[in-house]
């Protein structure tokens, strides 16, 4: 392990901003729950009623965790934030471990450092230490912010300590995954599956008899019961689990060669399948993974909203602000809630549309575009292939979200009356989503170096959607968001003139981007 301290200093230097942002984000996740709960319910009676309703909702419990002391601010904070906090800590740990171990090994950069006077274990040990420290930062920020907010000190500290230990467990899992396979992406895949299984096990346990929750590190964290009869001993499970997995990773490390994994990289096909050499074949291969995972994710998210069913009436409470947020100017609170849910789902799909429109930039930067353009593939067709994937993916992701919403609602309420109304009309937002991806495409044609700016419209759209009325943002700024021009389905019926108008804007921006790309230098 000689020299690991030097590596640790290097890693910490590379990570400091990244860790700070992860930490602040996690802190906000916890503290914002406290703020919003205290804002939403003006009387304890109201709070009690909402809590009782939440505690009886299986979908909520499956999503967040066991319902304990939900009529207290602390209880709400831990319930709403702990499962997602654990996942955030897990993801941060995974990215930190990945970028300092397998990614370095894969790129060959690491060889340069390993050839200096350092021990074989030094980089791995330092990566472990860096991720462990980052989780301490997360825990301290969360605990500190809850204490400062005025919640009970021991319970706040336990919330932070449990989060740190949960992050350590996933650090260990990531470290082990990095030893198993040769590509960083595959190792991320393994860690991601472990995270998903941990989350699902505790959901099953929390809804059922509780046994499955004891198989999940997230379940251990939640078994600490902060703000509802705190107990410390489940932390020991997290610590013991982390140590055991690190030991296993160490054994695997000794058994593999540098640059390879325990599992050898599988060979692929020697010939291209017809699906790859067809027109659009390459574009499909490059967009397939994000397209499929976004579609699945949007379906799940839609189902979560849909399964709240008619309970939303109770959940939202009687306070004026919360009603205002969801009424959207109609009498029916459930319809108003689903109108908000649908526009939110559509805005989330913008994340897919924009990142998919950024893909051509990555192809160009990595030097793969020039190889393709040196063949008989015309520029316009190449870009049109990527465009097709963005449009198709936006459509399927929106439709999947709508289906999830409609099916979830139908399952919970036992009626299919709203199935159509809650699903297909979501597609009317497609032109608005595509306006945002078309802005990215225009940037790609005109100013490829400034493509990060493609995310700015999404910030604007989100701010207008969430705070437009509350902050009284001037109307002309709100009008910049294409979503503001479309009908609020299912409260209003689809406004086809608006759909056509927004579609034309998207098409015009996209065509301008295509034309500009045909005229510019390719690097």
């Amino acid at each position: 392990m000689t020299g690991w301290a030097a590596f640790l200093r290097l890693f910490l230097r590379r990570d400091r901003w990244m860790v700070l942002w992860w930490g602040l984000g996690t802190m906000l996740l916890y503290v914002s729950q406290a703020v919003s709960v205290d804002d939403l319910y003006t009387t304890q009676a109201e709070f009690d009623r909402a809590a009782a309703s939440m505690a009886g909702n299986t979908a909520f419990i499956a999503m967040a965790g066991p319902a304990r002391a939900l009529n207290t601010t602390g209880g709400q904070v831990f319930w709403q934030a702990s499962a997602f906090g654990a996942i955030v800590a897990g993801l941060m740990s995974m990215f930190l471990v990945g970028r300092h171990t397998r990614a370095e090994e894969e790129s060959g950069r690491d060889e340069l450092l390993r050839a200096t006077a350092v021990g074989r274990l030094a980089p791995t040990t330092a990566a472990l230490a860096a991720a462990a420290l980052a989780n301490v930062v997360l825990g301290v920020l969360v605990a500190g912010s809850l204490v400062l907010y005025g919640l009970a000190v021991p319970d706040s500290v336990a919330t932070g300590v449990g989060l740190t230990c949960c992050g350590w467990f996933f650090t260990a899992v990531a470290l082990m995954a990095m030893q198993l396979v040769t590509s960083t992406r595959a190792a991320y895949g393994i860690t991601g599956v472990v995270l998903a299984v941990a989350y699902a096990l505790r959901a099953v346990g929390d809804v059922g008899n509780g046994v499955a929750s004891w198989l999940s590190p997230i379940g251990w964290y939640q078994a600490m019961h902060p703000f509802s009869g705190l107990r410390w001993w489940p932390v020991l499970l997290l610590l013991a689990g982390s140590i055991a997995v690190v030991a296993l990773a160490r054994v695997l490390f000794e058994r593999r060669d540098y640059g390879s994994g325990v599992f050898a990289a599988r060979p692929g096909p020697a010939r291209a399948p017809a699906s790859l050499t067809r027109p659009l074949g390459l574009a499909w291969r490059l967009h397939r993974a994000p397209l499929v995972s976004w579609t699945a994710g949007m379906f799940a998210l839609g189902a979560v909203y849909g399964s709240m069913g008619n309970d939303v009436r109770d959940l939202i409470g009687d306070s004026e602000t919360s009603q205002e947020m969801f009424l959207q100017g109609t009498g029916d609170i459930v319809q108003g809630f689903y109108a908000t849910a649908m526009i939110m789902l559509a805005v989330i799909v913008c994340g897919f549309a924009i990142s998919s429109a950024l893909r051509p930039r990555a192809e160009e930067d990595d030097g793969r575009l020039e190889v393709v353009l040196a063949t008989a593939e015309p520029r316009s067709r190449w870009l049109a292939g990527h465009l097709t994937m963005t449009v198709v993916g936006t459509g399927t992701a929106l439709l999947a979200a709508g289906l999830g919403l409609g099916l979830g609602y139908s399952l919970v309420t036992g009626t299919t009356d709203e199935l159509w109304n809650l699903s297909v009309p979501l597609l009317q937002y497609a032109p608005a989503v595509l306006v945002l991806s078309a802005v990215a495409r225009l940037l790609y044609g005109v100013a490829p170096r400034a493509m990060v700016a493609a995310w700015l419209p999404l910030v604007l759209v989100s701010v207008v959607m969430l705070f437009g009325e509350l902050l009284s943002i001037p109307q002309w700024v709100q009008d910049l968001s294409p979503f503001e021009h479309l009908a609020l389905v299912p409260v209003e019926s689809v406004d086809w003139t608006a759909v056509l108008g927004v579609s034309l804007v998207a098409a015009a921006l996209s065509v301008a981007g295509q034309v500009a790309f045909r005229r510019r230098d390719v690097h």
Binding site: E106, T182, S183, R185, A265, P267, G268, P269, A270, R271, A272, P273, L276, T277, G281, L282, R285, L286, D366, G367, R368, E370, V371, V372, L373, A374, T375, A376, E377, P378, R379, R381, R519, R520, D521, V522, H523
Partner: protein, 303 residues
């Protein structure tokens, strides 16, 4: 313009902002010719190739590829050529075999028999994923894809920088064969031995313009042969001869350099002294190269 010329560039100008990358460059490559494109890092070799491929838009001059405008008719003209970049990047999740088929299809077809033969000759495993290949193997993937295509022109940008000597000789064999079928090759390279072995003609580029161009025989004529000899008795008159440089006489030994055009009279003088041993080194491209770039330090390979 001459239709027999596969590549014909006259006075090409290309600027990036205030930097003039190409400053009136001329280059022509005919059928059945392997043309070496030599120059130090940043001289404009890759920029020229990118203009030729229609990736960059020229600012001035004339560029003709198969008699057509490579910017306006890029896709159509690309059916007739194959390109291998110096730094080959592959899609991390596609196998080498998939990339070869993909590029072949995009060029309009691949020769199946040649594909198999080339995979064998270059000892390339087509089932590995792009991220698992070394630099040399990524280059082989691009080379196999290029050489298996049915094209009339190969544009190769430092194609052997990652290959081992064995594979370099395989590469040379296939390039020779390609030329013998009457096709043209533009070969940008740093490896002078390779250029000397493969190329019929050479253009040397510096700071965006061609400073020397011609067949290798023409260019050799411009260079000097180094001669060292051991004689039976000292001779006079060498110093006065035209074209003799850096003469060193140590008793019976002489060393000097002589312009290749003036080789014959110098040897006559040596014969008068009774030649016991004689070594003469023919002019190398390296010498020619150094004469143009002598004041420049060679950096690492250009990207």
């Amino acid at each position: 313009m001459d239709d027999e010329q596969v590549i014909d560039i006259r006075g090409l100008v290309k600027s990036f902002g205030t930097v003039r990358a190409l400053d009136g460059l001329d280059l022509s490559v005919g059928r059945g010719e392997v043309h070496g494109f030599l120059g130090p890092n940043g001289a404009g070799k890759s920029t020229t190739i990118r203009v030729l491929l229609g990736l960059l838009r020229k600012d001035g001059g004339e560029v003709r590829l198969f008699g057509g405008d490579p910017w306006a008719r890029a896709a159509e003209l690309h059916r007739r050529l194959a390109y291998v970049p110096g730094d080959v990047n592959l899609w991390p999740t596609l196998t080498g075999g998939e990339v070869i088929d993909l590029l072949g299809r995009l060029r309009g077809g691949i020769d199946e028999a040649r594909r198999a033969e080339l995979l064998d000759a270059f000892e390339l495993d087509p089932t590995k994923k792009g991220r698992a290949y070394s630099k040399g193997n990524r280059q082989k993937v691009a080379l196999v894809a290029a050489l298996a295509s049915d094209v009339e022109l190969l544009i190769l940008d430092e194609p052997t920088s990652g290959l081992d000597p064995l594979m370099e000789s395989v590469f040379r064999r296939y390039v020779d064969e390609f030329r013998d079928r009457g096709h043209a090759v533009l070969l940008s390279s740093h490896i002078l031995a390779e250029v000397e072995q493969l190329c019929d003609a050479v253009s040397i580029i510096r700071a965006g313009r061609v400073v020397e161009a011609g067949t290798l025989a023409d260019l050799r004529h411009l260079t000097r042969t180094s001669v060292s000899a051991e004689l039976e008795r000292p001779v006079d008159g060498l110093a006065q001869l035209r074209g003799v440089h850096d003469l060193e006489v140590e008793g019976h030994r002489v060393r000097f350099q002589v312009d290749t055009a003036d080789l014959d009279p110098a040897l006559s003088v040596l014969v008068r002294g009774g030649v016991r041993t004689l070594t003469s080194q023919p002019p190398t491209l390296e010498e020619l190269f150094l004469r143009h770039y002598g004041d420049q330090v060679q950096g690492p390979a250009e990207s």
